[in-house]
Symmetry: none
Subunit: 426 residues, 2 copies
Amino acid sequence: MNTCELVVTGTELLLGYVVNTHPNYIAPRLGSLGIRVTRIVTVGDDRCAMADAVSQALQRADLVIVTGGLGPTSDDVTRDVVAELLGRKLREDKKVLAKIKARFRARKVRMPKAIAVQAQVPEDALVLPNDHGTAPGLAFECGIRIAECGMTETAADVQRLLVLLPGPPRELKPMFDNYVMPLLRARGYATPAACRVFRTVGVGESWVAEMVEPLVKGRSDVELGYCARPNEVDVRLITRGSGAVALADELETRVRKRLGDIIFGGENDRLEDVVVRELIRQKRKLATAESCTGGLLASRITNVSGSSEVFTEGIVCYSNEAKMRDAGVKAKTLKAHGAVSRQVARELAEGIRQRAGTDFGVGITGIAGPTGGTAKKPVGLVFMALAGRRATEVRRAVWRYDRETFKFVVTQTALDMLRRALNTVH
Amino acid sequence: MNTCELVVTGTELLLGYVVNTHPNYIAPRLGSLGIRVTRIVTVGDDRCAMADAVSQALQRADLVIVTGGLGPTSDDVTRDVVAELLGRKLREDKKVLAKIKARFRARKVRMPKAIAVQAQVPEDALVLPNDHGTAPGLAFECGIRIAECGMTETAADVQRLLVLLPGPPRELKPMFDNYVMPLLRARGYATPAACRVFRTVGVGESWVAEMVEPLVKGRSDVELGYCARPNEVDVRLITRGSGAVALADELETRVRKRLGDIIFGGENDRLEDVVVRELIRQKRKLATAESCTGGLLASRITNVSGSSEVFTEGIVCYSNEAKMRDAGVKAKTLKAHGAVSRQVARELAEGIRQRAGTDFGVGITGIAGPTGGTAKKPVGLVFMALAGRRATEVRRAVWRYDRETFKFVVTQTALDMLRRALNTVH
C-alpha cells in the first residue's frame, strides 16, 4: 500500500485563526484509492520550515502533497522552495502565462505584474490546470536518495511523486478531483482497499471495542478505529489487499450481528437524520415539549431537510406556567412531584402529543446545572419520556456534564428512544 | 519568544473523518502568552510515528503539546510512547485511580478493567486533573540533548516542557484553561505580551480590516488577526515587549472608538451570553416563537447558565396550526400574506410576548431550504421580528446558506436586534 504525507502551509493555520480542512477533503479520496495518509505537517510561510518538512516527507512517503503558497504575494514561497530542493530551474511557461492573461482579459481587469510569477514552472514538472484561479498546480516525479538510518544499513534510491496544490479550497478541490486523482490512477499509485463505518449510540468506547476487537484479532489486513463522542461511538473498519471488498462485506455482517441495534447508521448519518428519515417513511408525526434541553431537540430535528413533513411543533417550557398552558401539565402534578419528575415528563410527552395531534410526543425535564440541584434532585438528573399510541416510556438518568454536553446527551437519548420505537412499533 | 510545536494524534484525523480543531483552540491562547506555534504535526495511533514526531518536536521547540491517545483502548499509546522516549517508568498513581473509581461510582456504572491504565503515571510527571473525563493530562520538564546538525557544531543540553492532553475537546479545553495556562505562566514560558479580542456582529471581514488596519500601520510590536464566521468577525490584537499592556490599553480604546457598537463582547463572550446577561441585569423577560430556525434560538439562549431567570418559554411552530394555537397568529393573516411574511413574523413576536407575559417577544419565519422556495419567496428569505413594550421591529433578509448556517445567521441577527434594543430602551 502506498503512503502519503500532506504538508499544509500557511501562517494563519499556525495562529489558529483558520481551521485546516484540506485533510478532510484529500484523505478520504486517497483512501478510496488505497493510499494511506501517514502524517500531516502544518508549517508557516517560511522557507526553512517548508524545505525541511517537504524533504523529510519525501524520505518517508511514496506520495507528498503540498498545499498553499502558490499565490503571487511575498509570503507565497512553495514554488521556489521546491524547485531549489529538487535542484530544478524555474522557467516561464508560455501556455500557463497565456491562460492567466486570458483570465484577466475575460474579466476586463488589468493583470497585476506580480501575477506572472505563477507562470514560472520548474523543469520537468507536470502542470495541473487551475480551472478556478490563476495559480496552476504542479506535479514532479523525482528520484530520492533515502538517508541511512538505524534500521537500514545502506542508502537507497526510490521514486516519489510530489504534488503542489493551491491553498484556496474552491481551487484545490476541483483540481484534486479532475487532475490529481486521474494522475494517481495513471501512475499506478492506487491499490485495493475497502472501508465500512458503523455509528453507535448509548454505549461507551471500551464496551464497543471489547465487542468488536475479537472479530479481527490477529489479522494484519484489517484495521479498526474508533471515534468517541458523549453517548456516541463510531467504529471504522478498513480492509486491504486484493480481497478487500469481500473481506469487508464478511466482517460487516459479523460486526452488525455482534453490535446489533446499538448501530444506528453509517458514515454520513447523524442520529437525527435516521429518525427523521424513518418518521417520513412510516408517515408518522412528532411533537416535542422540552424543559432542560431548551429547544436543542427541536433544533437537531429541524436541521434535517424534510423534517417539516413530520415535525409539527415543539415547545420549550422553562416556566411552570408554560408547562401547564402549552403542554397541559397539571398543577397538582407539579405540586406533588416537582417540575423535575417522572410524572411531569410523562405529562409533557402525553400532553404535547395530544395537543399537536401527532403519533409521538417527547417530554424532557431535568436540571442542566451548574446550579439548581438539591440533595434529592441533584444537578444532572433528567427524565425523558416518549408517548406513543399505546404507551408512554419514561427513562431516568443522572449525567454530570457541562451544560451543552448535557443537552446533547439528553437529546441523543430521546432520539434513540424514538429510533427504537420506530424500529419495533410498526 | 518561546516556540511551541503541537503533535496531534489520532488515526481518524489522518483518515480525514474528523476535523482537527485543537490548534484553533490552543494557538490563540498560547499567542496571548507570547508563545508562537511553529509547527503542527498530525500522526496516527502508531508508536513509531508518534515517538518520531515527539522527539523531533523536542529538538526544535521550547514547548511541545501532544493531544490524544490517553484513553483506555488499544490504540491509545501516547502515555507509553512518551514514558519510553523519556526513559521514565510508569507507576499506578493511587490518587488518580481513586478519582477515576469515584467517577464510576457516582454514575453507578461498572468500571471496565481497561480504564485503570489511565491511572498509570510516568515518574516525575505532573498530573493535570481532568474535570470532565477519566484520563488526566500529564506534564514533564525534561532535559534534551539537541542533536548536532549543519548549523551548530556541538550538541547542547536544553530544558523543554512536554504536555500531554486528552483528545476530546470537552476534556481538553477546560484542562488547557485551568491547568496548562497557569503552568506556563508559573514556569516562566510566558513573555510580555498582551492580547485583546473584539467580537463583532453583522459586518464582513474586509470591512472590519479596513477600519482597524490603519490604527496599527507600520508597528512591528503589534499583530492583528481576524477570524471570520458567517455574520461574525473576531479581531485579535496582540502587542509585545515590555510596554505590551499599556500599548494594548491604548489601542483598545482606539479600536473600540472606531468599530463602535458592532463590537458585542470579548474573547469568551458568545452573543447569547451578552444578551442573557443584559436581560438578567435589566430584569427583563423573553419568549420566542420560531418557525424556520426550529428551536435554535431557544437552544442558544438556554445554553447560558442562568437563562431560566429571564427566558420563560419558546415555541417552535413549523405547522400553521401551531402558529395559530400557540402564538395567536390569525388565520386571515396566514391566508392573505402566507406563513413567510412580514405580517406573520410580527404576529408571532407580539403573540408570544402577550401570551407569555414577557417584556420581549421574538418571532421568526422563513425558508431554510434547500427546497420550498418560489419565485416571489425564494429559498433563504426570512423575516425576524422583535416585539417590545412600545413597538415591534421587523427585519427582512435573503441568505443563501446551507440549512445549519442559515439557522445560525438568522438567530445571530435576532439576538443582535435584542442586544441593540437592550442597549437603547432603558
